[in-house]
């Protein structure tokens, strides 16, 4: 029987399903409305649309925004904290920041109320010595108080638990005995890393998410099993790897950026297959434009993020830079006569003026509609009959044209010019912050709206070509099927290299490897190979910013052979020089953290199987007027999915498919590559 692998990405508006037939490599996609508040309805609908019998499914991988949404909307469980005496306010005090630089307004409520943050006598010092042994009677009393106050989850947060977890481990063991459910998180288990606010925040948010996420994933799994599914159910993590559903229920905080991460993984794979290792991705949604950078085939990981002010999650995640310029971003003229885009957005509901759902302020999508770039008769997603071009024109006149003395068309072009310039700014900055020149990269738009703006991004950033994936609207769902299984571990060491305890380092490395391998072994997924990687966060003494130092570690069987101090020092010198250009003579090297990653490489499918088959057709299906620059152009419209490999379409042209519109501007051309991607570049012969 032919087995299927399924990727499901649940977004704000649509649930995307990507189904890969493992035997013949063919793929199908489905897009269904996301159901709220319980997303499992749309999840199952989408799968059932493509698969008759769940017994035919070997793997289901899910990219989810359930965690992000629960955090942003504060929909997690009532949670309690048991912590070191004197420290119950760490969660609320943050790192002494403020919501916005200017204005001094706004405040902050942590996810755990001060009433439910209880202190117990215990203290470990920074060197790991125990100054006050934990008072277990006090821990028991605190846990009972939290339970009777209605807390569903609890986090144990002890000072310096990264240096010696004994007190915290004793406390959590006791709490687990008496707590009525599995929702108990301890800071040394979630993140054994120095910096109490970041560790406490990550642990408390994990506890806060546990009941909600494990309930949601449990419902999904039950429904899948009830339908006869007997395969592996996995969840995408923020680091772009997948984990087993049981792990996700214990570590839900690792799903904080699950959905967007899957998109970047797919983008990297698609571009890599097409021969491009350096990619800047641009995901344009209703409210935002998310940019990410892939260098030499690797996405950049950032160590932490703030989901919202004061809600810090420290766990490796794919670095994604977001600016408020999406299709629903509102264009407005300020008191000084300057045209601005966003940050206010009409989102997807009520959405652009042209949707006719109640918004009367013009958006970026409205400008695209008025200029003929979006077909008013076939709106994407199929929810609406027709777009209201006249209403969009009126809104642009009233809010932009009249105040600036521009005609409707000039005003619509102006909105796109300013929006494109902000998006191009984000692309430039993402490259520059990492010290890369964007010109060495290709641009990959995905999401519903990105491919309308690809030409403008090339013109403004100097990037030579854009690559539009064959199915840009389901990139994240495809990423679910592609992602490897990966577990990240961290342990603070905090020592000079000279005084490093090599045996202790070896024990930590071995423990990380053992835990990671156990998780890989427990999964019923096939792996092509297993990869172990180790990094040390290092710096010279006196320096606060550390450098990630990759360490080559020999592994025989599953036993790690720990590197010598000399090897570590040499590796540091290489990494430091690459980052800062020169070494510090006489500087004393120190090690702050060990970071390990255990990856199971999953079999990849051949993207060529998605390519168009046969002759297809290079004939335009229709024509319509589209406005570019200062004039209308009679523009050919093509059915994108029907274009054969090798077809070259010269701009101006528009390629349509059910969930995306690809715009090819005059002077540019779109070429269908061997995988069905469209490569947008300068026309041959053009300068």
């Amino acid at each position: 029987m032919s087995k299927r692998m399924i990727g499901v990405d649940v977004g704000g508006t649509f649930t995307d399903v990507f189904v890969l037939n493992e035997n013949d490599g063919t793929a199908t996609v489905a897009k269904v409305p996301t159901t709220r508040p319980d997303q499992s309805g749309g999840f199952l609908d989408g799968i059932k649309r493509e698969v008759d019998d769940l017994r035919d499914v070997s793997v289901v991988v899910h990219g989810t925004t359930a965690g992000t949404n629960a955090l942003l909307e504060r929909k997690g469980a009532k949670t309690g904290v048991i912590c070191t005496s004197g420290l119950r306010d760490v969660l609320e005090m943050r790192r002494r920041d403020r919501p916005r630089t200017w204005g001094l307004r706004g405040n902050f409520d942590p996810v755990v109320d001060r009433r439910n943050r209880l202190e117990v006598p215990e203290r470990t010092l920074a060197d790991g010595s125990i100054r006050t042994k934990v008072d277990l009677d006090a821990v028991r009393a605190a846990a009972q108080t939290l339970q009777s106050d209605g807390c569903e989850a609890v986090a144990i947060l002890f000072a310096n638990a990264y240096a010696n977890p004994a007190n915290e481990a004793a406390a959590v063991a006791l709490v687990r005995e008496i707590w009525p459910n599995a929702h108990v998180s301890a800071s040394h288990e979630i993140l054994p890393e120095i910096r109490e606010f970041e560790r406490f925040s990550t642990t408390a948010l994990n506890a806060y998410l546990q009941p909600e996420i494990s309930g949601y994933l449990g419902r999904l799994e039950t429904a899948l099993r009830d339908g006869g599914f007997d395969g592996e159910f996995m969840i995408v993590q923020s680091n772009g790897g997948v984990m087993a559903v049981e792990t996700a229920c214990q570590l839900p905080v690792r799903t904080a950026l699950s959905g967007p991460a899957a998109g970047v993984i797919a983008a990297g794979y698609i571009a890599g297959s097409a021969g491009f290792d350096n990619v800047i991705t641009g995901d344009m949604g209703g409210t935002s434009f998310d940019v990410s950078l892939i260098h030499n085939g690797q996405s950049i990981l950032s160590p932490q993020t703030s989901i919202d002010f004061g809600m810090v999650v420290r766990t490796p995640m794919i670095e994604i830079t977001t600016i408020g310029a999406g299709g629903g971003s509102i264009a407005w003229v300020d008191k000084g006569g300057l045209l601005n885009i966003g940050p206010q957005s009409a989102g997807s509901n009520p959405g652009p003026v042209a949707y006719g759902l109640g918004n009367d302020r013009p958006t970026v999508t409205d400008a695209n509609v008025v200029l003929g770039r979006i077909d008013p008769d076939n709106p994407i997603g199929g929810k609406l009959e027709r777009l209201d071009v006249e209403a969009a024109s009126n809104a642009i006149d009233i809010h932009v044209g009249t105040p600036l003395g521009l005609t409707t068309l000039q005003a619509a072009e102006a909105i796109l010019t300013v929006a494109n310039s902000r998006m191009a700014g984000a692309i430039r900055l993402v490259g520059i912050e990492r010290g890369f020149d964007p010109k060495r990269f290709v641009f990959m738009p995905f999401g519903g709206g990105g491919a309308l703006h690809a030409g403008a991004m090339l013109a403004q950033t100097g990037i030579a070509r854009a690559i539009v994936p064959r199915y840009p609207g389901v990139t994240s769902a495809m990423g679910c099927v592609i992602a490897d299984m990966r577990q990240d571990f961290v342990q603070t060491i905090n020592t000079l290299v000279a005084t490093l305890d090599e045996d202790a380092l070896a024990r930590f490395m071995q423990s990380h490897v053992d835990q990671g391998i156990t998780l890989l072994d427990a999964s019923r997924t096939k792996f092509d190979s297993r990869v172990l990687s180790f990094e040390l966060d290092m710096a010279y003494i006196g320096q606060t910013h550390t450098v990630s130092v990759p360490i080559d570690v020999a592994v025989t069987g599953s036993r790690v052979v720990v590197p010598t101090k000399m090897q570590i020092e040499a590796a540091f010198d290489v990494a430091y020089e690459a980052t800062f250009g020169r070494l510090l003579s006489g500087g004393v090297r120190r090690i702050l953290n060990l970071r390990s990653a255990v990856t199971g490489k999953r079999p990849k499918f051949d993207l060529a199987s998605l390519a168009p088959i046969g002759e297809g057709s290079v004939a335009a299906v229709s024509h319509r007027r589209v406005h570019f620059g200062t004039q209308w152009h009679e523009t050919a419209i093509y059915d994108r999915l029907n274009l054969p490999v090798g077809a070259v379409i010269k701009g101006p042209a528009i390629l349509t498919q059910p969930d995306t519109t690809v715009l090819i501007e005059p002077e540019l051309q779109g070429r269908v590559d061997a995988f069905g991607n469209t490569i947008i570049e300068q026309q041959e012969g053009a300068v």
Partner: protein, 564 residues
């Protein structure tokens, strides 16, 4: 001058802001010292070729620099005019606070940008160096009575002439710091940021042409001015005064008045600081550029969406009395400038609240509380733990104030307790919120913090504090109440003590096992206590942020009827 269309203007505004942001990012990444790398105590921008006015400034730099850098550029313009030898490729460097504002730790680099052989604008970079000589490592000397006891003073000189670096200047700089490696790293970072700015300006002018970019810069200034005038026109005409006090100057225990009269007339505003105390002996003096820049910071907090360029200040007249501590003359010490400018912002907010209470927040905690604890380890190695501590922000018309925020003049975060405990022989007994410290009102001020720190080192240690708000509380606005004041205590063999100068003290001897405790102020309250909702009072009491007694005394006992 060519006329520029509004679309190109929007695009160029974003592009130029990005150039300044990129210069910021370049220095943050390259700087060796954490004050720049982590606390972002630095800034970059583009400045007018003739006037030195701020044209564009980066978004991520320290707020106080947004106004102060124009003075640094102006000083260079004057120096170059006097010497008559300005050339493409020149770079000026100086730290003289009486000319360039703030304090001597801030090293300023100014570089002319030429286009087609003609001066187009200036680029500048400022960053807080770790050490620039003087009596105390890190240049924070609370007992200084002149600048020479604070740091080495460098007037504007040419670090580079027509593209050639003058190594003599670097040699002088590096011989005058305790941390030459750190200084060299920061200097390299600042030079790198300026190089990048020049490269980006070349690209921008190649693309759009010098005339268009010049026209855009001009138009952005006019636009900022127009925005400010339209904001002021919406406010009522009138004159409002506010006065507050610094506890003392660290040398003589006498309060020092900071006074402002704020006048709005049509589309103009005057901030008149006449009546402020005369120049004092200790380091809470500030130089005139700092005063003008601080007025800008206050204005920008009141109108947070206005752009960061000099056009904003054109409708605003700042009057600073001669001979006052707000226009201190060389060589008066200025190392503690943070406390004075925080009080200036407080009085501007208090006066503005009388004109339009919904447009401002009540006073924030108003002191940076620079605390250092230092000693020698058993092996003789010296250690110094130095940090600033947070407090509450003021209530506003929308919400209660933020608990434990950073100072309005800065965006710096506090180091984690565990990093401090790992680096120094100390243990925090408490790192918590301070109940009953927020000013009461319809919207309560945010609460301050309690930090209690025990010395673990068997040799003991010495503590030094430079703080304020120990005698005069942060003010509420719109009939909101004042916050709790700063309280500093230290443990001795016969019990806890408080310093005679309240929040300033040098050389407090501590034994192993003894500690110090800092209880920082909250923010002022907003609106009358009679308008606070009973359920908010009950919730504050349930959370322990307000004691039941204080709630009863302030608000009456009706809250006891309400479930929290």
């Amino acid at each position: 001058m060519i006329k520029i269309d509004p679309i190109t203007l929007s695009v160029l505004a974003g592009r130029m802001e990005q150039i300044a942001d990129e210069m910021d990012a370049t220095l943050f990444r390259a700087a060796f010292n954490p004050i720049i790398a982590e606390a972002h105590d630095a800034s970059h921008g583009l400045y007018h070729a003739r006037t030195g006015d701020t044209l564009v400034q980066g978004k991520s730099g320290l707020p106080i620099f947004v106004g102060v850098m124009a003075f640094a550029v102006r000083a260079v313009i004057e120096k170059a005019a006097k010497d008559g030898d300005l050339a493409d490729g020149d770079i000026y460097i100086f730290n003289d606070a009486h000319i360039g504002g703030t304090h001597l730790s801030d090293m300023r680099l100014v570089r002319p940008y030429y286009r087609d052989g003609k001066l187009f604008c200036y680029l500048a970079s400022v960053g807080h160096w770790h050490d620039v000589g003087g009596a105390v490592p890190g240049n924070y000397n609370p007992a200084a009575t002149d600048v020479f006891q604070e740091a080495f003073v460098l007037p504007p000189v040419k670090l580079a002439r027509a593209g050639v670096i003058n190594q003599d200047i670097i040699d002088i700089l590096l011989r005058n710091t305790r941390l030459p490696q750190s200084a060299m790293g920061d200097l390299n970072g600042q030079l790198g940021a300026l190089d990048l700015g020049i490269k980006r300006m070349d690209e921008l002018l190649d693309e759009y042409g010098g005339d268009t970019v010049a026209a855009a810069l001009d138009a952005l200034g006019h636009r900022a001015e127009a925005l400010m005038r339209s904001e002021l026109k919406e406010l009522p005409d009138g004159r409002w005064e506010a006065e507050d006090f610094l506890d003392n100057d660290g040398i003589v225990d006498e309060p020092l008045a900071i006074k402002v009269a704020l006048e709005i007339k049509g589309d103009q505003m005057t901030l008149d600081f006449t009546g402020s105390a005369p120049q004092c002996a200790g380091p809470v003096n500030i130089a005139l550029p700092t005063t003008v820049a601080t007025a800008y910071v206050a204005v920008k907090h009141i109108f947070p969406t206005l752009p960061a360029n000099a056009g904003v200040m054109r409708p605003i007249n700042v009057i600073v009395p001669e001979g006052s501590l707000l226009s201190a003359e060389f060589p008066a010490p200025t190392g503690g400038y943070t406390e004075t400018i925080l009080r200036m912002i407080d009085v501007v907010f208090s006066a503005f609240a009388k004109a339009a209470p919904t447009r401002v927040v009540a006073n924030a905690y108003g002191t940076i509380n620079a605390l250092s604890i230092a000693g020698k380890r058993a092996n003789g190695q010296p250690w110094v733990m130095f940090s600033f501590y947070g407090g509450g922000h003021g209530g506003s018309v929308e919400t209660d104030g933020l608990n434990h925020g950073n100072a309005p003049i800065s965006t710096a975060t506090i180091p984690p307790m565990e990093i401090l405990e790992a680096a120094y022989p100390v243990m925090f007994r408490t790192w918590g919120l301070r109940a009953d410290s927020g000013g009461h009102g319809a919207h309560r001020g945010g609460v301050g913090a309690i930090y209690e720190i025990e010395v673990l080192e068997e040799n003991g240690a010495e503590a030094f504090l430079f703080g304020e708000r120990g005698k005069f509380a942060p003010k509420g606005i719109a009939d909101g109440q004042d916050a709790a004041m700063n309280v500093f205590s230290y443990e001795q063999d016969d019990g806890w003590k408080n310093p005679p100068l309240v929040s300033k003290m040098r050389g407090i001897k501590l034994r192993q096992g003894q500690g110090v405790r800092l209880e920082t102020p909250g923010g002022g309250g907003y609106g009358p206590v009679s308008e606070r909702a009973a359920r908010d009072i009950a919730r504050d009491v349930a959370r322990g942020l307000v004691s039941a007694d204080a709630a009863d005394q302030t608000y009456g006992t009706d809250w006891r009827e309400v479930a929290s």
